[in-house]
């Protein structure tokens, strides 16, 4: 029985088997809750328990876990996040991706700490979770619909605006390996291809509505602390600017620093950056702010194209990653086209980062004659040609012609065209996020050792190394990467957004205070960090069991081979010898073998049961 925990959990996981159409509520115990905390922790553990049974990421045997955290839905800044975990279609290894919006809070209000989906529905369906009532509803009429249309369709069918919907677009249905799950209009679980997992299960959408109280041990304490938090955030000198531009301010920051990926990572300064930056957006396109549940920072920008070819296009976004991968990285300087591309990716349900990097690779391949025009269906692929780029994105989502190859992601592209290896920037089959790593070798290590592939959310060390890195030893670099890979996943376990901490100097110890207040058990930040640190061994185990080892822990060859062109770091590449040293030291500190494998007894520490 639960003795200590007085809040944070309903102690219920909703388990849905789409093959039989049946759902059941699985309870879990206090030890499980405290050890894995929630979100990414619950997801990784449940995936680990099922690993032996999973034949392939797109097979009905795969499990998809949607898990908010113990702080999700509460009255505190950024309490919006929900984590999606599954064996990833893009990489074949541990995969996760999170989304904000209102879906996670609603799922918690329905009384569940996690939702687990297995099996495969006979025909296209959606899942309807109405508090305690759960139903799998046939929905052939939603076939082929965009994610935004599907969300509207489900809300209309259920005749309520008071529900939250997560849906996939046509790309998810077509099993594009970087398909997203889109919720609350434009909040995507973008990476790893979680949308394809839903597609493989014939599940077009998940609708949820809940009205339950969220368990909190010390309610007055929560109110007081959040009043202080809201005051702290709004007093930050960058608060207002952040509300105005959100992540779009990063374009200028990186372009000035000489780190804005341009034309498939060939250059680091985009000559038209002023055409795609936050000020351009504010002046000509922005019509409103939007925020995830419970967040005062409202980093979402709602933009409208008021004239020209894309007139009438409305999108929530872009944020930095999309503006870079669909903008500078493709040589596109027309902001309206970026908005259109962003809206298209949301609706088709594909990841803007993977799509942008793959399209950029194609353009460069055609330009440098690594591919012939006929190999790309005779398309006139060139930098900045937004029309052709849009067409290629459509082809990916619909799996037409060359799009069918790209839709299977980097691994498939390299299998078909090995000559693209030097120019396709990826790790473990995941296309790299929009931050260069050549001027900051710690970022190269961050990409190499990120548990899902070349993604920036596990560790982002660019800013710190640019500021202070010249004095760093290798050990400093490894330490900062591991610290990031510990604290950032902690946010994913608690179910909160990391941006208040990153952008507005929100003290990370505040989250330990929150967890203590909510759970009723005093915790220090170190207590929580230890659980997050151990979890990195678990996600590594999942991936090593699927064949990952040292050989996979490198950023794309381009980071070692092609010197930076443009900006103050001109000529820099990642030093291979130093990288090997960093990797050795990294494994040593993790307690993994020289080949990057955790010791055999590690698995036993995760053999505990849910109850």
């Amino acid at each position: 029985m639960n003795k200590q925990l007085r809040g944070g959990y309903h102690f219920k996981i909703l388990w849905v088997d789409l093959t039989s159409g049946e759902s059941r509520v699985v309870p879990f115990g206090e030890e499980f809750a405290l050890k894995y905390i929630g979100g990414r922790g619950f997801g990784a553990k449940i995936l680990f328990d099922h690993l032996d049974r999973i034949k392939d990421p797109l097979d009905p045997t795969n499990v998809l876990i949607i898990a908010p955290g113990p702080l999700t839905g509460l009255y505190l800044p950024g309490a919006a996040k929900t984590h999606v975990v599954s064996l990833a279609p893009l990489t074949g290894i541990y995969g996760d991706s999170n989304m904000g919006g209102n879906f996670g809070p609603e799922l918690r209000q329905a009384g569940y700490d996690a939702l687990v989906i297995t099996g495969r529905a006979k025909e296209l369906s959606y899942l309807w979770i109405d508090d305690d009532d759960v139903a799998v509803v046939r929905a052939p009429r939603l076939a082929g619909k965009g994610a935004l249309d599907a969300e509207r369709g489900v809300k209309e069918e259920l005749q309520s605006e008071d529900i939250r919907v997560a849906a996939i677009g046509p790309a998810g249905e077509k099993l594009v390996r970087f398909a997203t799950i889109n919720s609350d209009w434009s909040r995507n679980a973008g990476r790893c291809g979680m949308g394809a997992v839903l597609g493989s299960k014939n599940l077009k959408a998940i609708a949820v509505r809940g009205g339950k109280d969220l368990p909190v041990a010390d309610v007055p304490g929560l109110r007081l602390l959040t009043e202080r938090s809201l005051r702290d955030l709004s007093n930050h000198p960058m608060f207002e600017f952040w509300q105005q531009q959100g992540l779009m301010s990063v374009i200028d920051y990186l372009n000035t620093a000489g780190g804005l990926p341009t034309r498939n990572f060939q250059q680091n300064v985009f000559e038209h950056a002023d055409q795609i930056n936050g000020f351009k957006m504010e002046r000509e396109f922005k019509i409103g702010d939007t925020a995830c549940f419970g967040c005062p920072m409202s980093c979402g920008n709602i933009c409208l194209v008021k004239n020209g070819d894309h007139k009438g296009t409305v999108t929530e976004g872009p944020e930095y990653e999309s503006a870079c991968t669909l903008g500078s990285n493709l040589g596109v300087s027309d902001f309206a086209s970026i908005l259109k591309g962003n809206q298209l990716c949301d609706d088709l349900g594909i990841d803007t980062i993977s799509a942008g990097v793959l399209v950029g690779t194609m353009i460069e391949a055609v330009e440098t004659e690594l591919l012939t025009p006929s190999e790309v269906d005779g398309m006139k692929l060139e930098w900045g040609n937004a029309g052709q780029i849009t067409k290629l994105i459509h082809k990916i989502a619909q799996r037409e012609g060359v799009g069918d190859i790209l839709a299977d992601g980097s691994k498939a592209v390299l299998a078909k065209w090995p000559q693209l290896k030097p120019i396709l920037v990826q790790t473990k089959g995941m296309e790299q996020s929009a931050y260069d790593a050549r001027a900051t070798i710690s970022m190269a290590l961050a990409y190499g050792t990120c548990d899902i592939g070349a993604h920036h959310t596990r560790a982002w060390t660019v800013g710190k190394e640019l500021e202070a890195g010249s004095k760093w030893t290798n050990e400093d670099r490894v330490d900062i990467v591991i610290y990031h890979q510990t604290i950032r996943p902690l946010f994913d376990m608690l179910g909160v957004c990391r941006l208040p901490w990153i952008e507005l100097g929100f003290d990370e110890r505040r989250y330990a205070e929150y967890y203590s207040i909510v759970s009723g058990i005093p915790h220090t930040l170190d207590d929580l960090l230890e659980r997050a640190r151990v979890l990195y061994d678990l996600t590594r185990l999942i991936s090593t069991s699927r064949g990952i080892s040292r050989a996979d822990d490198y950023p794309g060859p381009r980071m070692f081979e092609l010197p930076i062109s443009g900006g103050q770091y001109e000529g820099r590449v990642v030093d291979r010898e130093q990288y090997e040293d960093l990797l050795d030291l990294y494994y040593e500190k993790r307690g993994w073998s020289k080949d990057g494998i955790p010791p055999a007894e590690t698995a036993e520490t995760f053999a505990d049961s849910l109850s």
Binding site: L74, W185, D213, A291, G294, P296, I302, L304, V314, E316
Partner: protein, 178 residues
Amino acid sequence: MPKRLSVVPERCSGCRLCESACALQHFGVSNPKKSAVRVIALYPHPTIRMPVVCRQCSHPKCRENCPTDAIYIDNGIVKIDPEKCVSCRQCVISCPFGAIFVHDDVPTPFKCDLCGGHPACVQACPKGALQYVPEHELGEANRVASVLRYAHMKEVEYVEKGEPKKLRYAQIGREQSE
């Protein structure tokens, strides 16, 4: 001077901090579904986020339609008397704004009571989309805007290098910024 809870939808980001704060204030729980203010978000056409909350009408439809006279006005605030209320929910569907709410756990419909003059939602709103202002200020933004619109259409005559010219207020400052 009586004060009014006023909504500026253009500023709302849809974060729902107001909902959480309201439910904590009135029911002591973290549950936006027990809030007397609700944010409705529509997308993509038209795009809007807007908090819905009681306007404390002087001639409330909810009171007019209440079969048991449970609704009364106390010092400008529309209130529901739980003793008289039979929970028929007539008020919920009568309110033209949809600003009266129900929840399974709560015996009678509930609505905004302005928190005794210090609305928790206003304090929590990070965007200034909810304002608690003296009644006479309502509409002031529109009054000023309409005067500005008129003024911007006006033309000022002046002479430059001996030539008479006309300038519209609306043009001033535009040249430099472009």
